[in-house]
Amino acid sequence: MKSYLELCFSVLYWVLIAPFTGRMFKVSHIFRQMVHIGVRALPMVSLTAFSIGLTLAMQAAHELKRMGASIYVPDLVSVSLLRELGPVLIAVIVIGRSGSAVTAELGTMKVSEEIEALNVMAINPIRFLIVPRVIAMMVMLPALTIFGNYVGIFGGWTICHYALNMTTSGYILRAIQSSHPWDLYSGLVKSLVFAWLVITIACDTGLKVEGGAEGVGEATTNSVVYSLLSMLVANATLTAIFFFAA
């Protein structure tokens, strides 16, 4: 826990304070990490979001049809995606795909003396390795979430259009009218918090790896487990805050 907090503070230092003292992190590394963490997760995110949108619409249609309220299906799909399912499910995908990869990569670098080599070359590993990953995650997870929301709403549209005979314009109109900007913003606030938790936990467990391949495997499992747990706790807490504050 102590090492985790130290890591968080030193990341904040290198992002917020050090650039003003002339010790800038490498911007090109951030883009490289954005590709690794974000862009390469797109297919997986799309597939998940689409199937969730589709399933949501089917489940909602099944219940609402009996009450003759099929018209509310788009409302339900868009609001539940924006507020809850979008941020949480996309975070789950990113934890499983990108968080674990970051831990495994850093862990391997640790056991093969690469981190020590950086230290000996007077290159700070936090600045060189961790900061680009943190910034990339903080940008890409919200971006993926917005993207996932769209794809999910598109998934809902396929059901509404082909099974419930709704017009495309009718679907879009209802989906937009029923949701408020705050639904989107609250989802994005969540995904920013998740991004910070996921990437700092992934980096911390990666940097703490001891021993060989076994240590890397164990750390990767721990990274996924701790990220998932803390993400779910943070989600419940944030939802409660939004619920009682609104």
């Binding site: 670098m109 093969s112 003396e113 080599a117 950086l118 000996v120 070359m121 007077a122």
Partner: protein, 280 residues
């Protein structure tokens, strides 16, 4: 030996991992232009000693001065300033797998200076040529052999033209010709350019070829202490049988090959007990 300040001065260095002392009071000095060889059997604490001198580990007690400055109590920023003045070759090469060979060699230059890409490219080519790897810039470390990785590691260690070079087993895994190339390079750098080198090695041919000073760490009960030190000639003529056994590479000697049967059984079973007959 002169009155000048030593490049490295280690005094009474002690390091314990829990109860177990790995280094038990090591003291030595390295002067400018010297090539100090640290030798000793596997697990005698050579790498640990090197890790303390380069600041990666902090000692339990004792002092380490590099370029006349005490590094054991130094903060990260000052240590970084000292570290820019030396290069280190790791046993495995420790290249960053995500970068190409060229980017690895360029890393210290691009991180610590603002030079044009053209000049950096030129420097990378020069350094790679020094270690006999011209034209390998664009390969990834995973695509080259272990010996090549080590030579790239050496090129990287030399990227900033350091005053001091640490090498952890620079010639293990190299063929005899490449060993000679690396040895010649170290000799040129120390003798012509006044660089200082600290080399940890098992390779006696290479050690006697490049070394100007040697220390040997002990094994067994004398583990973690310096059992012999001196010039290569003094070491070759050392009366210490452990040194002789090590230099000549003999299987049996003061460091025993095998224990007696009783000792073996005692160690295996933990407590001394009579040997039972009729059982294997």
């Amino acid at each position: 030996m002169s009155d000048e300040t030593p490049i490295i001065e280690v005094t009474d260095l002690v390091r314990k991992f829990g109860e177990r002392a790995v280094l038990k009071g090591i003291s030595f000095k390295v002067f400018k232009g010297d090539t100090m060889i640290i030798m000793g059997g596997s697990g005698c604490g050579k790498s640990t000693l090197l890790r303390h001198i380069n600041g990666a580990m902090k000692p339990t007690s004792g002092s380490i001065k590099i370029f006349g400055e005490e590094i054991t109590t130094m903060n990260e920023r000052d240590l970084a300033r000292i570290r820019r003045r030396y290069g280190m070759l790791f046993q495995s090469g420790a290249l960053l797998q995500s970068l190409t060979v060229g980017e690895n060699v360029a890393l210290p230059v691009t991180e610590h200076g603002k030079l044009d890409d053209d000049i950096v490219d030129l420097m990378v080519k020069m350094k790679l040529e020094m270690v006999g790897l011209t034209g390998f810039e664009n390969l990834k470390p995973a695509e080259i052999s272990g010996g090549m990785k080590k030579r790239v590691g050496l090129a990287r260690a030399l990227a900033l033209d350091p005053e001091l070079l640490f090498s952890d087993e620079p010639t293990s895994g190299l063929d005899p010709i490449m060993t000679a190339v690396v040895d010649k390079l170290t000799q040129d750098l120390t003798q012509r350019l006044g660089m200082t080198a600290v080399v940890v090695t098992h390779d006696m041919t290479s050690a006697f070829r490049i070394g100007s000073k040697m220390i040997m760490l002990g094994a067994g009960p004398r583990q973690g202490t310096i059992i012999a030190s001196g010039t290569p000639d003094e070491m070759r003529n050392s009366p210490n049988p452990e040194v002789q056994q090590f230099i000549r590479g003999e299987a049996d000697g003061p460091v025993p090959l095998k224990l007696s049967k009783d000792d073996y059984i005692n160690r295996l079973l933990g407590t001394p007990r009579p040997v039972e007959k009729g059982r294997h």
